[in-house]
């Protein structure tokens, strides 16, 4: 276990180092998230739909599609110059490599959310003191689930010719349950309902995360090894 954590931290550290050097994907995902929120804000007729009715949908669409940007680049560096084979030659458990990739993707999505959420509050004129502890918990749990499934599919897609098209096709159907739970929970929380009212959705997200992180750790070897 200690070995897997060491490997995961090494892989995540390397991915973040690469991203800090490039900045392109992070910048693209953040700008994309901001643009989605702007479009939603100006596409809404405030006399027909209240901000609170549309806000959860806008938030979750922003999260899901900016996560796709993050996941699309997750294995790009490995696809060049055989670096994936370099990783696979290391005496490291495949589960550790997978968890490292997940951790890097999660941090990436987290940074995008750190920029997107304040913009979201601003554009939709929401009260930042109402329900945001709960919404933050829902966002974190959802991001873990999205990344757990997406990292596995990203590793699968990167060796194909149409990786950028294939990833959303594989990934988005698995994101639907997270989307349902996220929208349901955040709608209630942003309306000022208590956290206990969304306990079922939170438990669902926790179970989803555990199941897919476990499956991802076990299946990663099948995906990356020949």
């Amino acid at each position: 276990m200690g070995d897997a954590i060491r490997v995961a931290l090494a892989v995540a550290g390397k991915d973040l180092q690469l991203e800090l050097r490039r900045r392109t994907a992070l910048l693209a995902a953040t700008v994309f998230a901001a643009l989605v929120l702007v479009v939603f804000n100006f596409a809404r007729d405030p006399t027909a739909i209240s901000a609170l009715d549309l806000a959860p949908s806008a938030l979750w669409i922003t999260l899901v599609f900016s996560s796709e940007v993050a996941l699309n680049r997750a294995f790009h560096a490995e696809a060049e110059h055989g670096a994936l084979d370099g990783l696979l030659l290391a005496p490291a458990s495949r589960g550790g490599l997978y968890l490292g990739k997940c951790l890097a993707n999660l941090i990436f999505v987290g940074v995008v959310l750190l920029v997107a959420v304040p913009l979201f509050i601003l554009f939709f004129n929401l009260d930042p003191t109402t329900g945001w502890t709960g919404v933050a918990a829902v966002l974190v749990l959802a991001a873990v689930g999205i990344v757990a499934v997406g990292t596995l599919f990203s590793a699968m897609a990167v060796r194909t010719r149409f990786a950028e098209l294939l990833l959303p096709l594989l990934h988005l159907p698995f994101v639907v349950p997270i989307l349902i739970a996220g929208v349901q929970a955040s709608t209630r929380l942003l309306a000022g309902r208590p956290l206990s009212e969304v306990g079922g959705w939170l438990r669902f997200l926790v179970v989803y995360d555990i199941v897919f992180l476990t499956l991802g750790s076990l299946a990663f070897s099948t995906v990356v090894d020949e």
Partner: protein, 235 residues
């Protein structure tokens, strides 16, 4: 493992890509301290053989033994035992050689001293902090070799390791490999120009038509090796 047992052994190894059978029953053994030059025409399956031995490709049939054990029995130990240089660098182009080596060191559980020693050994120092993507072919190759040697493997699988190296760098690599051989490291060296590492080579094998058709002690001269090779491949 028996003291005189091969450190690397393959028996009846087969491998197919689509309908093409690339390896058709390869038998080869490498003893500790041996440097086996593996010759063969383009497409003979040399790179495929190295990838199977490194655990990056699966054999369809046959036996692979690393230090007397099937790699699947203890894959982490098998990976620790092997260092691979192949035609791709296996490096991250946007990281520097030092960063690439540091990352590999972390994966192998090594400390920064191993990285510093590798940079020194391969004389990468002046270029160690520039992105790999901006380096010359020779400097990238030196970094690839440094990466393969970083964890002091007991088996080195080298696919054209002298490719892109200038004469002093090639001489340095020969000297490094000589020191490793003296320590008992086994080397399987895929090359089209055995004279580049002539002083190191102890045995010559020729892979042709998916099989090892020659496997013998090194002839006395490169010219004799060349004659032997052309006789074996019928060209």
């Amino acid at each position: 493992m028996q003291p005189d047992a091969p450190v690397l052994e393959v028996r009846g190894l087969t491998r197919r890509y689509g309908r093409a059978r690339v390896l058709k029953g390869v038998d080869l053994a490498v003893q500790p301290g041996e440097v086996v030059a593996l010759l063969g025409p383009n497409g003979a399956g040399k790179t495929t053989l190295l990838r199977v031995l490194a655990g990056l490709a699966r054999a369809e049939d046959g036996v692979v033994l690393v230090r007397g054990r099937h790699p699947a029995a203890d894959p982490l130990a098998a990976r620790r035992a092997i260092g691979l240089v192949e035609h791709r660098s296996l490096l991250y182009g946007e990281l520097t050689p030092r960063e690439n080596l540091a990352f590999t060191a972390r994966l192998f559980g090594l400390d920064g001293a191993a990285v510093a020693a590798a940079v020194e050994r391969l004389d990468i120092g002046k270029h160690a902090d520039l992105p790999v993507a901006s380096l010359s072919r020779g400097m990238v190759q030196r970094t690839s070799v440094a990466r393969a040697l970083l964890h002091s493997p007991s088996i080195l699988l080298l696919d054209e390791p002298f490719s892109g190296l200038d004469a002093p760098s090639a001489a340095r690599l020969v000297s490094l490999l000589g020191a490793r051989r003296a320590e008992g490291v086994a080397v399987l060296l895929v090359t089209h120009q055995p004279e580049e590492a002539w002083s190191l080579i102890t045995r010559v094998a020729v892979l042709h038509g998916g099989r090892v058709v020659v496997d013998r002690p090194r002839p006395s001269t490169p010219a004799e090796t060349s004659r032997l090779y052309h006789e074996a491949i019928g060209g």
